[in-house]
Symmetry: C2
Subunit: 703 residues, 2 copies
């Protein structure tokens, strides 16, 4: 049994600065100590160098890594000037994550000795201690405060306390031994029959501010509100007992229960039961962190998302009910109605969490939270929710790859914490996400709900061209040049005067900004682009109100950007826009009867501009307006030379594109305004831009 | 014999406007008439459609072409609104020049009948007459005057009067017949022995202003001054008699006399004597425009440049003297000392020119001009000079491909005019240039001079990248952004303070603008670039003080640009710059001991920037300044990823290029200024620009 409570993460928003300095100093040292004590369960130096799992570094890396992390963040923040050990700090900086097979060159690593790493850790401990003792401290400690990276380093080590404990659990038994500080729970028995509890509908409302009391990772901040319909949830976490039914029902051999991604994982690993289960003769045993015990049937089963999901699918088939995992939001509902509070600072939590109870799971019947058990603690609970950013998400500049790489739809959130989740990990707001095949001290409970799990967009557009256009349409202005789409919509609306403004067509809409802008004036606006990937951005904005993308800064370095319709004053027109994939040279018949057609930077990207131009009047109401803009950048890759409508010598004389437009449009249109030069800027990198003058002409259909 | 004098080209700078209108009207009609009368020598309609030479259109094209030219220029100038016959005007617009073999699809042309073309010509005549009678006229008529294109059309037709007469001369004899208006000279006899006349050294000074009295083509305008050393020149044009010696000396079979290009032509055509000579039994005959006559031995021989040059080379071998053709400038010297004046308006010229005398050549002894004969008239005289623009050359916007395509080093100037050169063609200032293998009514005289013929630069850089850089370095400023090279030189010179400023190195100098700019402060500046094509522009400027290039405007349309050191205030530093081709990552040892090194936009284009940066101090004096700028646009095509010095995650953290610079340069340099953002703009088309912020850092060598 652990002697004392493990220090809680400190309140950062008030208190006496010098007391706070001491509190943080203790928080640092106790965490640094605790982490080192975890490694005391290893039986030999060899245990540090033999890999626990083939795709991860050996434990010696993790011993050094949390120390190096401190120095890296303190350097970035300017709190220290020099590296402690540049060689170690290169070795220990990166490699936390699972690697791919071709990344596994053993020879790349000449690990230092355990003694060298411990000496290094002592030096880092001294450095951080000096920083803590000497850095001026003013409260509150928020994102911008120089103390933030100090807390970040400590919380980072607490995360690794847990993840290293999982690696140790995956290590060969010969390399670990029981330790008085890391005693597993001794209780076990028969699991209760699980049953469903009704959770009434309700609102989930999160509004984590950077001024909040506790340290948080960037993904926790922002606004999130959701109405959650009522659902039923299993009173208990799924126990080893309950999961055994699935194993015995040949759940692992029946592919029908497995989702596509889960099936790939199962085929790859040949998994036939939960990973920590050991078949011992006719018995089942369970591998804990330092020992193997007879299967504690009333402890929660530990599985990855795929296994949990397969269980739900099997259960669905068995019961005929819509069984699935909870969403992240449903978990908040469970917490909200459970009567739980934050873990107390000075007494044990009423849950198997924060190392307050055991160095292992415990029976699922031990900690009741309202009508449920283990809403927090014991093991993490997988959710259906791939992690996504809340409204107002910002990347913390000192750790810009903590969260963003997980916004890929492949990392699902776990909630509730496990027996070893300390500090930030143990909080309601914590949002840790792992690849769905990953093992942590994680299990699940299930829900029965007619409401399908919603998947929030987490995707950051990283395609270079698409993200350039996202920024071009929705991003910042550069060189003082007004947003191009906005300027064109303004020009178009001005040209409309008092003409009817029922429908408009934004042809070649790309990311769709002008489509939205025109919807301020028109009842309905259609955006059409040849590229489905481009209109995808407009569709996403119309559906979700938000667009996220990365911007190339310098070399491989990027920054992360989020734009919302509401901030652009376009939220009210969301329902007035519709996007279609289509070919301007071969438009479907239904796209007709418009009062305005905008074709921005389109004609010099068409394979046959004259085909488009000579028929465009058919799509426009009599008296309607056609607004064309183009820099006339004719390129053979888009438009074969014989299809150019200008920009060449014709019968010996210069024949401009404007000459060509007049020749083709003259039959049906009257040029009412222009040519005007409308500038636009497309950002390619932090320092490189395309700066172009598009020639705008405004035509009225007269025949 | 022609009844009347052919109208002279009108004075455009003074006179009574209504009298001038009448004079121009007569000039138009008489030229239009004369041109049509030329075609009266054709014997049948067939003569219009059978080609005179395989690479040229048949004569029907030329009959229509001069009419269409009027309508095209008047349309451009806004003097008429509508085409007279769009179909004809498409057929007759282009195709004057010799075509290449693959351009010869006969089926492309469905020529109208002669009657149709004459009807068309009458309509054009009526249109132009109306324009002349109704367009308001104010004098002077200069480039901008709406009457300029009217004169242009007339002078254009006078050119074709001559070139069509050559085509007719090349036509099969059955298609032509003598005509009372086009009577050849009847005199001929034995040619005199040619001999050399000494021409004293002197100055050629041309300063044709657009405000001058007479119409001129764009290539005639500008300033040109040259000192011409003394030389000797043949008193007479080379006669058929004199040329016979060359033919009989097997000049056409001895390749040694032929220049490389001339040899190609001779091999291709199998020429064995002048093209208008006909071997008739043992006699030589001569083809005139409408007849074949016994060889008039005392008439000037008519040859192309290659034949004339081969004759000179043979003569050189025979005499041991440096025989060659005159340069353009030497011809001006001949004219200047000959006592000649402009052709009188109201009496015959004292030369066989302007159709004042014959419809053919005449004996070379008939018209003496000072000590020489035929300085003007009889036949054009080939020169050694490829046509080039004078200082201040500008392209006339209404006819931008009259001259510019001939600025290619392959078109040599002919001077002096022939018996049929009328109007502008007959003037001292006329500068017609033809491909060197072309036939006109052209012959030559030769000079003996120790001074080699100089070749003036005529080249317009048309390579897209090179001309973009020419404009980037020497051209206009866009978006109000200061010239980048100038800004950097200013920054460098400021950073130098009172440090010694003996030598500077502009590494990655590209077109070399900063090299010149630095030479305002430093005694000597070396410009080095990896690309010999780039430094070629700097070399040309240093040698010739002028750089010419085309700018892409829209599609295939371009504009022509000329920049001079003198206008940039850089003429005085021409002798302080030297350019070398070199590799910044592997510089030759001699490039060292500099007080300043500028490396502008270089490092992200090197294959190994760290190799350059880690050794650059060796090239710099202690205390010297290194100015680096770059937008850090790392691209694998220039720099393999493993060679990038920043712009990636290093040991888990963002590592910028600036971080990399500090790491590499830190040993030997102190960062004294920066980073600063210095903007630059590169023009791609009339409407499309790269707009970039280059990061500048200034380093002082301290170790």
């Amino acid at each position: 049994m652990l002697r004392n409570l493990i220090n809680r993460t400190p309140k950062l928003n008030n208190g006496d600065p010098e007391q706070k300095r001491q509190e943080i100093r203790e928080y640092f040292h106790s965490t640094f100590d605790l982490y080192e004590k975890l490694f005391e369960v290893l039986t030999s130096d060899e245990a540090y160098y033999k890999k626990a799992t083939p795709l991860r570094h050996p434990l010696i890396f993790y011993l050094g890594h949390t120390a190096t992390f401190f120095i890296n963040k303190l350097l970035l923040a300017g709190l220290v000037k020099d590296r402690v050990n540049p060689e170690f700090e290169s070795i220990f900086a990166v490699g936390v994550d699972e690697m791919s097979w071709d990344d596994l060159s053993e020879t790349r690593y000449e690990w230092p000795t355990v003694h060298q790493v411990m000496t290094y850790r002592n030096a880092i401990r001294q450095t951080v201690d000096t920083v803590i003792q000497t850095t001026p401290l003013t409260l509150p400690i928020n994102w911008e405060n120089p103390w933030w990276p100090i807390i970040m380093g400590i919380e980072h080590e607490r995360i690794h306390l847990e993840t290293s404990s999982v690696l140790i659990r995956q290590h060969a038994l010969q390399f670990v031994e029981p330790h008085s500080l890391w005693e597993a729970c001794q209780k076990s028995g028969t699991a209760p029959e699980n049953n469903l509890v009704h959770i009434p509908e309700g609102i989930v409302h999160l509004d984590n501010q950077k001024s909040d009391a506790f340290y948080g990772w960037d993904n926790e901040y922002g606004l999130h509100t959701a109405e959650i319909p009522d659902f039923q949830v299993s009173r208990y976490l799924v126990s080893n007992q309950e999961f055994l039914d699935f194993v015995e029902a040949k759940g692992y051999t029946n592919d029908a229960f497995w989702e596509e991604e889960g099936l790939s994982w199962k085929n790859y690993t040949h998994a036939a039961h939960p990973t920590f289960w050991i078949a011992y003769g006719h018995e089942w045993q369970l591998r804990l962190m330092t020992e193997v015990v007879a299967m504690p049937w009333d402890w929660p089963v530990e599985v990855n998302y795929h296994e949990a999901k397969a269980f739900c699918n099997w259960k669905k088939q068995q019961t005929g009910h819509p069984v699935r995992l909870p969403t992240e939001d449903e978990w908040y509902r469970l917490y909200d109605i459970s009567g739980l509070n934050a873990i107390p600072a000075d007494q044990k939590a009423t849950a198997n969490i924060h190392l307050d109870r055991y160095a292992s799971s415990c029976p699922i019947t031990e900690f009741s939270h309202g009508e449920l058990y283990d809403v927090v603690g014991n093991v993490w609970q997988w959710t259906e929710t791939p992690i996504y950013p809340f409204e107002g998400f910002e990347v913390h500049p000192l750790y810009d790859d903590f969260t963003t790489p997980t916004f890929d739809g492949r990392h699902n959130i776990m909630k509730g914490g496990s027996w070893i989740s300390c500090g930030n990990e143990s909080q309601y707001s914590a949002r840790y996400a792992f690849r769905r095949h990953f093992f942590q001290h994680a299990g699940f409970r299930y829900v029965v709900s007619e409401t399908p799990a919603t998947v929030n967009t987490s995707h950051y557009e990283t395609d270079k061209l698409l993200s350039e256009y996202a920024e071009f349409h929705y991003g910042d202005e550069y060189f003082g040049i007004q947003n191009f789409s906005e300027a064109l919509a303004h020009l178009a609306i001005q040209a409309m005067g008092n003409k009817p403004a029922r429908t408009a067509l934004d042809l070649g809409c790309a990311a769709g900004r002008a489509t939205f802008e025109l919807a301020k004036h028109f009842d309905q606006v259609t955006g059409i682009d040849f590229s489905a990937r481009f209109i995808g951005m407009g569709v996403k904005l119309a559906e979700q109100g938000v667009l996220r993308y990365t911007l190339a800064d310098e070399g491989e370095l990027v920054s992360y950007k989020e734009r919302k319709l509401v901030d652009l004053g376009l939220n009210e027109v969301r329902n007035k826009v519709t996007f279609f994939q289509g070919d301007a040279c071969n438009l479907k018949p239904q796209f007709t009867g418009y009062d305005l057609i905008l074709a921005a930077n389109l004609i010099d990207r068409l394979y046959s501009p004259s085909k488009f131009l000579s028929a465009v009047h058919e799509r426009l109401n009599m008296g309607g307006i056609l607004l064309l803009t183009s820099p006339y950048t004719w390129l053979e890759e888009h438009t074969k030379k014989e299809q150019w409508i200008g920009g060449f010598k014709k019968d010996g004389e210069n024949f401009s594109t404007l000459d060509g437009l007049k020749a083709i449009l003259g039959k049906h249109f009257h040029l009412v305004q222009g040519p005007l030069a409308v500038p636009f800027v497309i950002r390619e990198t932090k320092r490189k831009f395309q700066h172009t003058l598009s020639e705008a002409t405004i035509w009225e259909r007269i025949a």
